[in-house]
Amino acid sequence: AFSLPSASVLSGVLQLMNRVQVEPVGRWFEAFLKRRIRNVSASFQELEEEEELSEEEEDEELQLEEYPMLKTLDPKDWKNQDHYAVLGLAHLRYKATQKQIKAAHKAMVLKHHPDKRKAAGEQIVKGDNDYFTCITKAIEILSDPVKRRAFDSVDPIFDNAVPSKAEGKENFFEVFAPVFERNARWSTKKQIPNLGSMESSFEEVDNFYSFWYNFDSWREFSYLDEEEKEKAECRDERRWIEKQNRASRAQRKKEEMNRIRTLVDTAYSCDPRIKKFKEDEKARKELEKKARAEAKKKDQEEKERARQAELEAARLAREKEEEEAKQAAQLAKKEKEAQKKAIKKERQKLRTTCKNCNYFVDTEAESVKMMEDVEKLCDRLELISLQNLNEGLASGNKEQSRAAIEKQVQEVNAQLQREREAEVKAQQAARSLDQSSTGTGGGKGWSEEDVQLLIKAVNLFPAGTNARWEVIANYMNLHSNSGIKRTAKDVINKAKTLQKLDPHQKDEVNKKAFEKFKKEHAAAPSSVDNVVPSERFDGSSGDSNSAPWTTEEQKLLEQALKTYPVSTPERWDKIAATVPGRTKKDCMKRYKELVEMIKAKKAAQEQVAAKSKK
């Protein structure tokens, strides 16, 4: 039926493939997509399936080892039997899978079930005493993961031995590798580091020991419980049993932990690698230390050198500076001296010229005045203007010289006058500021007398008087010598501010009035006359004692003013020292006030005098 060509022939080529859009639906699409994403061929999945199959086959080929003592086992002593051996899994033990255990059990049942044996003509022991019960027990234990773990924990063939140090010292790896391998099965963690070899790196070794020092074991000893909870008859007994069991389990667990600990400790102390690492570390540290010491030494030397150089530089700079400063000072001094000399010379010249010319005047009295003026000039004039003046004097005749000097004197006087005026103005400004801040002044200045007058008037026309404030105002206008016209409103304002003042202040005002009265009558203005208001006053009194002056203080101040005349150096300091509780500023302020008062009084007197002359 088949044609028979000699060999395989390719008689054509495949057409180019197409590209189509498919719907993303269905399990075949998913399978296709998965293949495409994982980039594997179609056969891959088939391979996977085959693998799964082969695994299953392996399970079926389970080798069972016959347990020779099986038939002699006593079911009552099931706790001491080796369950794995009973099921024929002695070679697999804890590695046996659940599937294998099931399969083994099935095989055992098929072989050893009493019914089967009976059929084979064997003698069967009645009841639970048959060895088949052991098989049932074994599967009961091994099929339950909890019970199986308990049994695994006390696996009778497990070697708990820990090698001694002496053994470990000789050939460390041969002795310890199997021990660690054996004990690794208790680990709850799956990744178990290897003991490694002599060539292992530090990290590996470190990892190994940290794993074993923090070993987390699932081993537990409930299988060895002496009392069975289930056998208890009542709750109390059960509790007691539980307690007993717990204690013994904890004890065993502790022992187990100790065992592992001892094992790791022994291994650690014997490990030749650890020794090597320690030595290496030591050598390294020593080397480091050495290097550090050297570096430090070097560093220090370097520093010292730098410091020396710095000091040297600083010293040189300082010397140079000093030299320069000295030179500059000398130069300045010389200049100053020259200037002083010149000014002295000029002054001398002026004086001598004036003296030579007999002060360009004839009378003795005039010459005295001229002399004073010249002195003033000498004091006030600058070097250059003095020179100019002297030149003028030298060149001109007597008349011209005199005129020049007078002109100069006038200028100086005018200047002095200007200064003084400016001062007075400043004072007045300060005072008005003061007054406006206390609010006692209002628009028109209220002198002490006026205030006194007001108080008097207010007392004279008590409350209830018809048009009282008009009357008071009129009275004030009639009797006041300040010449200020006051309206009823002003008067009310002032009276109110006065009322606001505390009684102490009122007293003060009264007292002052009395003092003034006394002074007027005593007519002792001498202490005032010799006072020239050339001192500068600071209007603001930040830290001064603003309390009113008491009579004692006032007296002390007046006394001090008399004892320390204007010419006294640091006059105000001394005055302030004599008045306790008052600062220099306070004293100056008070003095200023007094001066004003006196001035006002004088002006009033003059007015009165002028009036009376008329």
Partner: protein, 504 residues
């Protein structure tokens, strides 16, 4: 792991749950397996489902219907404009996107179509959760084939806004095929399927090719003017005419009366799908007058004969377009609520006399069931992220056949790789020859042209027949690898055929 499939249609939404290897539609809190996709906005609450649909007579301006028509469309989109014209709600243009303007008590509320869709999805989620008794997130959602990227995104966002984890968006026709498990048992072979969907407002016919268990849409046709509502409307018009005949009152200009008639006609239409006659009764339809009328199935079919023709015509056009005859189609799947109409089923059956009509699953539940099945496939898998909703695969261009000779000596061609088989693919073929033969030749053809001959020689003569296993693997680059093995002796012969591009 439970997963759900959601079908979000123009008129109705439906949810199916995949559990324990089965996909099933779950009923909502009203006991209906299909929830009307209607949302009514009230002063303080939003109502989704049948209650909203029934309340529409009184609250038409604040009841959103057919939100899918406008979802993910721009305001000036012609489809959106049609919807805006038909809708009883006010729709305003907000930044080129349509927004429903709803009057909720004292304030006017602006709601985007996406938010309406979100509410419906939320309702579906609640339905699935109450049926499962646990939280469910993973869902496959169906979209019409003609949906654009923007609409798909809008739908996906709405579903995600309702708390779904959208595993995938799949096309409605594919979901329908999957619901019947077409091509899912065995991945070999090639067949054609037709999905006929007559929904509430739209008709869509899709031709698909099933190859190696994968679906490919050949062509599709959608008609938004024909749907279940057209039938209801026709019936309602008939009822209005009857009423006019009886009471001399024209109700067609009264929107409220028409809406009542529509509801009644809807019920009657559903009844007629199972019974041969239905009774319509409307309380105080017009001016306090009640209306009662009996409609027979024959009457209904007569009224809608035009519509039936209009519904069937697209099938013929589509088959012409993809150059398939009615006999080339192996399966016809009916979906959409209106595909229940007996007359329509009869007409389709007449059109495909040799083809099995698949309608064992209720037609309105086919698509969600398919979606749920897809969800069941996808859930629990490592996420295979798909950028697009259909994926391009390589496939072989033409049929690969093997020639055999039967007992009578005639040549038999067996198709191993039908054209369009996604690559890579592998097929096995077993030949049998008389044991007396010493050599066997295997002939491969592409389309009708010979492609290769593989000869196995020096076979040991024996009593039984020679079993020759041929494994053909077509790789993704299009090359074909053929291995022939004689089963008994293990003698084998291998050949690799490169593609035209690689060979030239």
């Amino acid at each position: 792991m439970a997963a759900i499939g959601v079908h979000f249609g123009y008129t109705c939404a439906c949810v199916a749950v995949f559990k324990d290897g089965r996909a099933d539609v779950v009923a909502n809190d009203a006991g209906d397996r299909v929830t009307p996709a209607v949302v009514a906005y009230r002063d303080t609450e939003q109502i989704v489902g049948i209650a909203a649909k029934q309340g529409r007579i009184r609250n038409a301006a604040n009841t959103v219907v057919k939100v899918k028509q406008i979802l993910g469309r721009r305001y000036d989109d012609p489809e959106a404009q049609t919807h805006i014209e038909e809708s009883k709600c006010t729709i305003v243009n907000k930044g080129d996107l349509p927004m429903y303007e709803l009057d909720t008590g004292e304030t006017t509320k602006y709601v985007s179509p996406g938010e309406v869709a979100k509410l419906i999805f939320h309702k579906m989620k609640e339905t699935a959760q109450s049926a499962l008794g646990s939280d469910v997130k993973d869902a496959v959602i169906t979209v019409p084939f003609e949906f654009g990227e923007m609409q798909k995104n809008a739908l996906r966002n709405a579903a995600e806004g309702a708390g779904f984890n959208v595993l995938r968006l799949i096309h409605e026709p594919s979901a329908a095929l999957l619901a019947y498990g077409i091509g899912q048992e065995s991945p070999s072979g090639k067949s054609h399927a037709l999905v006929y969907k007559l929904g509430g407002t739209s008709l869509s016919v899709t031709a698909l090719e099933v190859n190696s268990g994968m679906y490919r849409v050949l062509s599709t046709h959608t008609d938004h003017s024909t749907g279940g509502e057209s039938f209801t409307h026709a019936l309602a018009q008939h009822l209005a005419a009857e009423f006019k005949k009886l009471y001399k009152h024209d109700v067609s200009s009264n929107p409220r009366a028409m809406m009542k008639l529509m509801n009644s006609a809807d019920v009657a239409k559903h009844t007629l799908s199972t019974l041969s006659s239905a009774n319509c009764f409307v309380d105080s339809l017009y001016d306090g007058m009640d209306f009662e009328c009996n409609v027979s199935r024959a009457r209904f079919e007569l009224i809608c004969s035009n519509l039936f023709n209009k519904s069937i015509q697209p099938i013929k056009n589509l088959l012409q377009q993809v150059k398939l005859s009615t006999s080339d189609v192996n399966k016809v799947v009916l979906s959409g609520g209106s595909a229940r109409i007996p007359k329509l089923q009869q007409m389709i059956r007449d059109l495909f006399p040799d083809v099995e009509l698949l309608c064992s699953i209720p037609p309105d539940e086919v698509i969600p069931v398919g979606a749920a099945m897809q969800a069941g496939i996808l859930v629990g898998k490592e996420s295979l992220v798909l950028g697009e909703d259909s994926i391009t695969v390589d496939c072989c261009a033409s049929d690969i056949l093997v020639k055999e000779v039967d007992e009578s000596g005639a040549d038999i061609f067996t198709v191993l790789f039908p054209s369009g088989t996604p690559l890579p693919a592998r097929r096995q073929h077993t030949l049998q020859g008389p044991g007396s033969l010493a050599s066997v030749c295997l002939e491969l053809f592409q389309a009708q042209k010979p492609l290769a001959q593989i000869v196995l020689r020096d076979l040991e003569p024996k009593e039984e027949m020679h079993d020759i296993l041929t494994v053909l693997t077509m790789k993704r680059d299009g090359s074909l690898h053929v291995t022939c093995t004689e089963q008994c002796s293990g003698r084998s012969e291998a050949v690799t055929i490169a593609t035209a591009a690689a060979a030239s």
